[in-house]
Amino acid sequence: MSNNLRGSSAIVGVGLAGCGEAHGRMPLDILAEATHNALDDAGLKLSDVDGLFTGSSYHFMPTLSTAEYLGIKPRFSDGSMVGGSSFVAHTLNAAMAIKTGQCDVALICYGSNQRTAGGKLATMSEQQIYEAPYKPRYPISSYALAAARHMHQYGTTREQLADVAVAARQWAQLNPAAFAQDDLTRQDVLNSRMISDPLSLLDCCLVTDGGGAVIMVSSERAKDFPNKPVYLLGTGTAHWHRQITQMPDLTVTAALDAGKRAFEMAKLTKDDVDVVELYDAFTINTILFLEDLGFCAKGEGGAFVENGNIAPGGSLPVNTNGGGLSCVHPGMYGIFILIEAIQQLRGGCGARQVDNPEVALVNGNGGVLSSQVTTILGTEAVL
């Protein structure tokens, strides 16, 4: 059944707005600008949108607030909330909605002013009552506990974690839109202020503002738009826990299942993937997801990211926009990895453009390594 969705819908428009700092603007201001940028990109009007997919840390009923702000009356809405992975998950729900006729033009969108709001609305999650007495820093301590365990079991080193940050920065330096552009060395990361061992300041993603939007339609009409269509070949979702205490194995994420499901739907393998966009909230994420998605064996992620292997010129292009570590990370980052993958498949990414990619893999992360959603996108050549 799931194979009915392979290639059934396509992305025909993308938009970004307010990435970096957007002083004096509210989350929905940023979302609205990104949405109109995506509509312009697709050559569509706001009134064409009849399906809305969004998530928010600010709005309890995000589809209602977003539709009201934009001035649309969608006939299908989905506000499924799985943290930063939500927007990647929305691709599957949008494909299903389009395939079953619930909507014709799906808008997936997000906006946040997390940086310039300066601590206002900073709490991104309800308090976990069995963790609160111990005052973990949320969410870094949960990721630190996973990183410490990975280092203990597999000998992963802080140097290898640092190499993830260095590779992300090297990609960012090829992307004029990336927020962090300064040179970064392994030693800089090792010397940065320790926050929650073994993760230091430069093992953490940025805190920026920013918004993004993606327009999806049925593949049958995908060629009626100005841009080269990018087809949704597969999406798989998986979640195994909410709080870090409940994670079955701190060194294995649910991307193991999400990736298998996405590849199965796409009828592709990891060897077909030309460019990889992973949700790098912390340096350990990249290592865990490369392992769980099959790009290297469990425990070998540290060695895999060493020596520039995922940096520009390496064997596998990973996080080509500079990642959450060096490009943009406004609270939830899922929409941005989706957009970078789409831009890479369209071509025209300038200095960071991967050589003629046909298949891109996106892995969204939500919570504390809790929700994993893998999406595989492709050009017409692999349809």
Partner: protein, 133 residues
């Protein structure tokens, strides 16, 4: 008619857990169907779906599964430990290791629980176990 039988009685599992802690006792529910303990306390066993749960005292013994040191300036109270402990009975919980420099805590260290009463709400913390268990 849908079944609406009472599967448990009395206060819920969270309140029961806290009531035991405030009486200086560390207990968790054990499923009488599959014999597994679980944390956090629930009305239904997450391992098998069983409702026949009994609160059982724990040995208090366990092992550090992972550990982190939250860095804080001395004038703000200094560094402190946050860890995950796997109890000998099986469940894993978040806690902290007291009585030692957090940076010296290692994964695999054997630990013993005690109840911290410094705040309004009692909670479980651990000390390194130096003698043989």
């Amino acid at each position: 008619m849908p079944s609406n039988s009472h599967r448990f009685s009395g206060v819920g599992p969270d309140q029961t857990y806290r009531d035991y802690l405030s009486n200086q006792q560390f207990l968790l529910p054990q499923c009488q169907s599959c014999n597994e303990f679980h944390f956090f306390p629930r009305v239904v066993c997450p391992h098998c779906g069983g409702f026949d749960l009994e609160w059982k005292a724990l040995s208090g013994l366990g092992e550090v599964h992972s550990t982190t040191t939250i860095r804080r300036k001395p004038e703000r109270g200094g560094n402190y430990n946050v860890c995950l402990v796997t109890l000998d009975e099986g469940p894993r919980l978040m806690s902290r290791i007291e009585g030692t420099d957090s940076l010296t805590v290692n994964i695999g260290d054997r630990v013993k629980a005690h109840i911290n009463n410094e705040s309004d709400e009692a909670f479980v913390v651990f000390n390194l176990l130096t003698e043989a268990p």
